[in-house]
Assembly symmetry: C2
Homo-oligomer: 140 residues x 2
DNA sequence: ATAGACTTTAGAGTAGACTCTAAGGTCAAC
DNA sequence: GTTGACCTTAGAGTCTACTCTAAAGTCTAT
């Protein structure tokens, strides 16, 4: 199949497929006489593999490692794959915690403000952003 | 005070303060004879205000809006500030949901794998990334 | 034979928010 | 009078992952 078909079947754009090739994630072995990239089902599997990794939050660098494990499994051990996953889990957990902290702070901001058509002269959102002591007051 | 002191007191770097100035978030009114930027306490308050906004996840564009409300409160209404906050809350909530979905998927990946020194020939992480049907199996 | 859809390439552009560099000027202390 | 810490500028570089462009070649259908 040509790149357009691979794009459609994998869910990646043709641009992105060429980009991944440039990054060394995908190798194209076949070219048509007119120099078009020709892909087979194994290439489709690889493209889908990469897409699944990306959808799970892995960076291209991490995908590269997964691909190298995948391409020569006996040369690797389960720990190789599991460690990357464990690190990613920690990263995602940390990010969620951070966002939850932010969310709490945002709700605190929002709840204190009427949000109406009143002049913002006394707006407690601006007050809170302006002054740390606003928070202390809330906690006191 | 000069930029170094403002940096220390605000928690922003001197580079960042100059960058914010270039972006129009901060205006510097005073310059010393030797052309050094001279800041006062109001400038410090503004710098801290911006930092607090950033820490709460607001983009520089959003900070700009908050600053304009702050600089002329009677010209604005509470809804101006509250709407931005509400949108940000939704964004953060969406991002958290997305990350939680990813986290579930990552745990599923991780739990299926022994993670030991065994050869990755049968590694279920790579299997799962390679094949949608792996997931169907789990769900069946 | 020609329109329209597809493909090719190298390389530039995008987003957001910094972060750094080079080459120079200033200032306080010893 | 010199060291070292600070300041100035315009502009380039960083990061990640695309995304797009231009100019050209190819394929399919009518």
């Amino acid at each position: 199949m040509k790149i357009g078909e691979l794009a459609k079947k994998s869910g990646l754009s043709a641009h992105t497929l060429r980009f991944y090739e440039k990054q060394g994630l995908i190798k194209v072995n076949n070219r048509s006489e007119s120099n078009y990239r020709i892909y087979n089902n194994a290439d489709l599997d690889t493209a889908k593999f990469i897409k699944r990794c990306r959808d799970m939050g892995f960076s291209l660098e991490e995908v590269e490692v997964f691909l190298s494990i995948r391409s020569d499994r006996p040369a690797h051990i389960c720990a190789d794959a599991k460690n990357i996953t464990a690190i990613k889990i920690t990263e995602v957990e940390d990010k969620i915690s951070e966002l939850q902290q932010i969310l709490i702070a945002l709700h605190k901001l929002s709840d204190a403000c009427c949000g109406g058509n009143e002049s913002a002269e006394l707006c407690s959102i601006i007050d809170a952003l302006d002054n740390d002591k606003e928070q202390d007051k809330t906690e006191a």
